[in-house]
Amino acid sequence: MSRYTSATPADRDEMLAAIGVGSVEELFAQVPEPLRLGRPLDLPAGMSEAEVYERLAELAARNADCEEQVSFLGAGMYDHYVPAIVDAITQRSEFLTPYTPYQPEISQGGLQAMFEFQTAMSELTALPVATAGLYEGPSSVASAAYLAIGATKGRRRFVVSRGVHPHSRETLATYATGFGATIEEVGLEGGLTDAAELADAVDGDTAAVILQNPNFLGAVEDVEALGAAAKRNGALLVVAVDPMTLGVLRPPGECGADIALGEGQPLGNRLDFGGPSFGFFCGTEALIRKMPGRIAGETDDVDGRRGFVLALQTREQHIRREKATHNICTAQALNALAATIHLAWLGREGFRELGELLVRRTAYARERLATVPGVELLHDAPVARELALRLDAPMGAVLDRCAERGIAAGYPLGREYPEYEDGLLVAITERRTKAQIDDLAEALGPVIQAEAGDLVANSATKSPGGA
């Protein structure tokens, strides 16, 4: 017996007698002797609750989190404020502990929440069909590509902007070996997807054109214009979006997107060092029977009461097996619920206001940071909530020095964009105050100067940047 099990010695005796064996050992006889471990696992002994807490609190304390640092890290996950009601509700046992609502009569809470989530995501993206969610952002891009193969009767070529999150492109590449598909990347020009190159790249074998908006460099793309090439060639237009910008940016459904998807973390989810969060996945009516994952649908019970069920299950692995539209089973229901609550809390006006706040603070940050000697803008395309800079000093050293001052200055672009070795992505949320942005600017100046020596002298007199 541990603290979580209840079989007392007396229980065990009664149970073994009922089974008709003398020991639990006998039940394990079906495991051939050579395969029995025959020794304790080489793991520490169990610990008391307080000790486990202390041990892991100690490890947690060795991380520099956003409670401790002022963080301008983004790159797909953002330090938004998660309202207290999100935790309060998602921690309720009734939402936390059941599994997928296979028995709808006793799962109306979860099913209705899914239905509400779908409605909210459909509203955000301006696409009529939303699923109940996938694992997270990048793998959702790969899932869209998989769908596109089927929707284009087997085309196996994807044209992808380099403005799409590097993790998404890497994940797509991984999956594509399974799909037997090829990927063509289209470069960026002035922070934006090169429209001409894109138009050239799309052909009649192209299953999907994949864009991101705002793109990884923070720039707001003209999705509709870029998407024309897809339309012309009968390819799907797939757009990854940052949901937090959809209060102000034109939604993908109005730009011709067939599929809009994205990383859901900014909506009510913790940073959690990268997960769990969720991926949202929306599409046109035409695609509804090709969609991956759960979809809640409305119906009635035998007495005529409104109710909700898992709809269109014939798409899914547990029914269709190898013919399923996707292999996903356990997804991210609780994370999607968090998003739904967060969106209800923000509400129609609050969501728009938040989008505006991000745009304005980001504009301020861009202007302010561009005045710092040794800093220039990586591009001057319009931005919504994240901006890209170039620093005239070694990136690693600059970030370390900022960290010493309690600031996580941003995401270094170098690893994933060798062409922007000196690039820094700076993210803004409603938690990043004007004062914190000013602090970053004031920290960056001396830090760059110290690291770059007199390199910066000649740029010290330049005027505020921007468009």
Binding site: I19, Y53, P128, S139, C329, E356
Partner: protein, 504 residues
């Protein structure tokens, strides 16, 4: 007498329907910065004309809405939930507390590894723990769930063969396999080949032998399998597959039966996924989140996803440090963004620390004891007649009954029995899976249930069957007391309504 229960009386209304223009819950901070119009910052054609029609509602009513909604769910913290294959074991709140620490919950995934040493150490420790439990030396935590792990495992297999200049096309899996197995096979670009089940519930060896050839990339197996039975021929099976150069994939959904008892690696498996939301107590969340780390053998290791958490000895004698290794030239690449479902890792590692070596072994023992006890209880009485066990031998952590006689003799289908169980306050077992068993009922009590709960469940089944003998309609029209009664699933699929209409 009551016409309806209080919950039945309360008709479903979505949060969108409770909206009223002008209401709000959120108050945002002041901008503090200049406030030009948006058009001055972003071209008008890229801007949205109307905000999305999110609900307008103040905080108190949001809270009430979701609180009330929550009570329309049955949950593990309220009652017995023997949903076979899903390992609905107790979810310790300790793990939630630890996951919520700001050092975990507010840690940005792109934090420099130098400043995320605690998180990386935790991941490394979890990798080591799962490696030991699985008996395989290397672990990637990246996959987000079991099915994601399956896909990853198959892509590893593909990379492994490609590295040897081979291109194979077939993946074998028993007819009892979970739906995600064949679905993953298709996504990974392979063709699925079903293997039959023998009369003891294991892989039919002759069928397997007939199907094994050098176009077989992999055999996917669950062991104990979805019948809850340990495949006694596993060593021979492994030999057959390895002989033709295939990999052996272990679907770890049933690991809860063998923790500290027997290890997939020792059985000959090359790749194992572990559902942290099953054996390792991550709450199921109404359908996730979970995580599906994969453990692999040395020969598969080079292909593991990127980045990998590694421990490095510091040259300067300051002790080891932890890092993310991106330099993995043979890697299949990423399966997702960032480092995986870290919040799940925290909970599962807390669980492993809590139970320790002995506790994990005891958990599996008790899971097997509970399953066999409940099986024995259901072998007697009316269940024995109407709901016989599909394969009559000791089971591991779960077992499968067949409702075929019940359906034939009483006209009561497994579905009806399941629905009637709802009225008794139980979550029904998994139904109609595995497909092999007609009118299947798959029962997994888990180790955290009391004998009293098992007894009560057995008594409820007995009572329902007695009632069905007298009047089968009782079950066929069930449930009666749930917030809604039987729902029209056909309608939902024929004319799908998948979002709230808001007019306009």
């Amino acid at each position: 007498m009551l016409a309806e229960t209080p919950m039945q009386r309360e008709r479903a209304e979505t949060i969108f329907e409770k909206s009223k223009p002008g209401r709000r819950a959120a108050v945002l901070p002041e901008a503090e910065v200049p406030e030009p119009t948006l058009e001055e910052l972003i071209p008008a054609k890229l801007l949205r004309s109307e905000p999305p029609r999110l609900p307008e509602i103040a905080e108190p009513e949001i809270v009430r809405h979701y609180n009330r909604l929550s009570r329309r769910n049955f949950d593990l913290d309220s009652g017995f939930y023997p949903l076979g294959s899903c390992t609905m074991k107790h979810n310790p709140r300790l793990n939630e507390r630890i996951a919520a620490l700001p050092g975990h919950a507010r840690l940005h995934p792109a934090q420099d590894p130098k400043r995320a040493q605690g998180a990386l150490e935790l991941m490394w420790l979890l990798q080591r723990s799962l490696a030991e439990i699985c008996g395989l030396p290397h672990v990637s935590l990246q996959p987000s769930a079991g099915s994601h792990g399956e896909l990853g495992g198959l892509l590893l297999t593909r990379a492994f063969h490609a590295d040897r200049g081979e291109a194979r096309h077939k993946v074998l899996a028993p007819d009892t396999s979970h739906g995600t197995n064949p679905a993953s096979v298709t996504m990974a670009g392979y063709e699925i080949v079903k293997v039959a089940t023998d009369e003891r519930g294991g892989v039919e060896m002759d069928d397997l032998r007939a199907k094994v050839d050098d176009d077989v990339a992999c055999l996917m197996l669950t062991n104990p399998n979805t019948l809850g039975l340990f495949d006694e021929n596993i060593a021979e099976i492994a030999g057959l597959i390895h002989q033709v150069g295939g990999t052996l994939y272990y679907d770890g959904a049933n690991l809860n039966a063998v923790m500290g008892q027997s290890r997939p690696g020792d059985m000959g498996f090359d790749i194992v996924h572990v559902n942290l939301h099953k054996s390792f107590s991550q709450p199921h969340g109404g359908g996730g989140p979970g995580a599906g780390p994969i453990a692999v053998s040395d020969r598969i290791e080079p292909f593991l996803p990127r980045p990998q958490v590694v421990r490095r000895e510091s040259g300067n004698g300051s002790g080891p440090h932890f890092d993310l290794d991106h330099e993995r030239p043979k890697s299949i690449g990423r399966l997702r963004g960032f480092q995986g479902n870290f919040g799940v890792f925290v909970r599962s590692y807390a669980y492993i620390l809590s139970l320790g070596a002995d506790g994990l072994a005891e958990a599996s023992e008790t899971a097997v004891l509970n399953a066999n006890y409940l099986k024995a209880r259901l072998a007697g009485g009316r269940a024995g007649t109407h709901l016989p066990i599909a394969f009559d031998r000791h089971c591991m952590h779960e077992f499968v009954l067949s409702g075929k006689p019940m359906k034939k003799e009483l006209g009561v289908a497994t579905l009806d029995l399941a629905k009637r169980l709802l009225d008794f306050g139980f979550h029904p077992p998994t139904v109609y899976f595995p497909l092999l068993v007609e009118e299947a009922l798959m029962v997994e009590p888990t180790e955290t249930e009391t004998k009293e709960s098992l007894d009560a469940f057995a008594e409820a089944i007995e009572q329902i069957l007695a009632e069905a003998e007298a009047d089968p309609e009782k079950a066929k029209s069930a449930p009666y007391t749930t917030p809604v009664r039987r729902l029209d699933e056909v309608k939902a699929t024929r004319r799908p309504v998948v979002r709230q209409s808001l007019g306009g």
